[in-house]
């Protein structure tokens, strides 16, 4: 574990340490910083900037962050949650997503993504994710994931 994590109260860490836990990379790394990480809860932030690639086409003249990428941000935060419990397990695959979006995310927003386990097991799990921008909830989801062998078992 990186040293700097011990120095902060709630176990917060930046993108270099995030990359040690999740395999996604630019332009698909959807979280900038982890503010808090424990087996019960992970809070991450994503600063949404006007220079994001996807805004070029989604949509020209009216930039809105695609909902699937908000789910990706939740899923990546979920991997960090999973790694708090099972640090050595390999990458898992998305199994199901139940989601609801209540407000568009636009350039300049800071998404605060909070995930909490519903049920975590070795090789599979379900967690709940909520995305807030300031005091508004913009999206929430229940996400299930598993390894390929869990699925076929």
């Amino acid at each position: 574990m990186p040293k700097e994590r011990k120095e902060t109260m709630k176990n917060s860490f930046g993108s270099e340490d995030i990359k040690k836990l999740i395999p996604q990379r630019f332009p698909f790394l959807m979280i900038d910083r982890v503010m808090e990480a424990s087996p019960e809860k992970v809070v991450a932030i994503k600063n949404v900037t006007a220079s994001e690639q996807f805004f070029k086409g989604h949509f020209p003249g009216q930039p809105i962050m695609p909902g699937v990428l908000i789910i990706e941000a939740m899923a990546q935060t979920g991997i960090i949650l999973y790694k708090q419990i099972f640090p050595n397990d390999k990458v898992l695959f998305l199994v199901s997503v139940k989601s609801r979006f209540s407000k568009p995310v636009i350039p300049g927003d800071q998404m605060v993504i909070t995930v909490e386990p519903i049920k975590m097991m070795s090789k599979m799990g379900i967690f709940k994710a909520v995305v807030m921008i300031e005091e508004h909830k913009v999206a929430e989801a229940e996400i299930a994931f598993g390894s390929q062998d869990a699925k076929s078992a």
Binding site: K119, S122, S152
Partner: protein, 82 residues
């Protein structure tokens, strides 16, 4: 009492597996005969834990093969809770 738990469990199983209740015999093997997979089993487990406020350990997942076996497991866990 036992009957209502059975109905509730069947309802949860049917919702997760996306089948009609009538298509799920109570003693049919959910994975081999009904077409569920172990991820669905996990979703069923999470739904049961929420509904009955019970905690089911990971090892129990393997025993949750039929609706009737799930009902027995839920009843046992509920008893323990009291």
């Amino acid at each position: 009492m036992a009957r209502s738990v059975q109905e509730e469990v069947l309802e949860i199983v049917a919702t997760v597996i996306e089948k009609n209740k009538g298509e799920i015999p109570l003693d049919a093997h959910l994975i081999q005969d009904v077409g569920a997979d172990s991820m669905m089993a996990l979703e069923i487990l999470a739904a049961l834990e929420k509904k009955y406020r019970i905690a089911v350990p990971e090892e129990k997942l393997k025993e949750m093969t039929t609706v009737n076996k799930i009902v027995q497991m839920v009843m046992a866990a509920k008893k323990k809770n009291k």
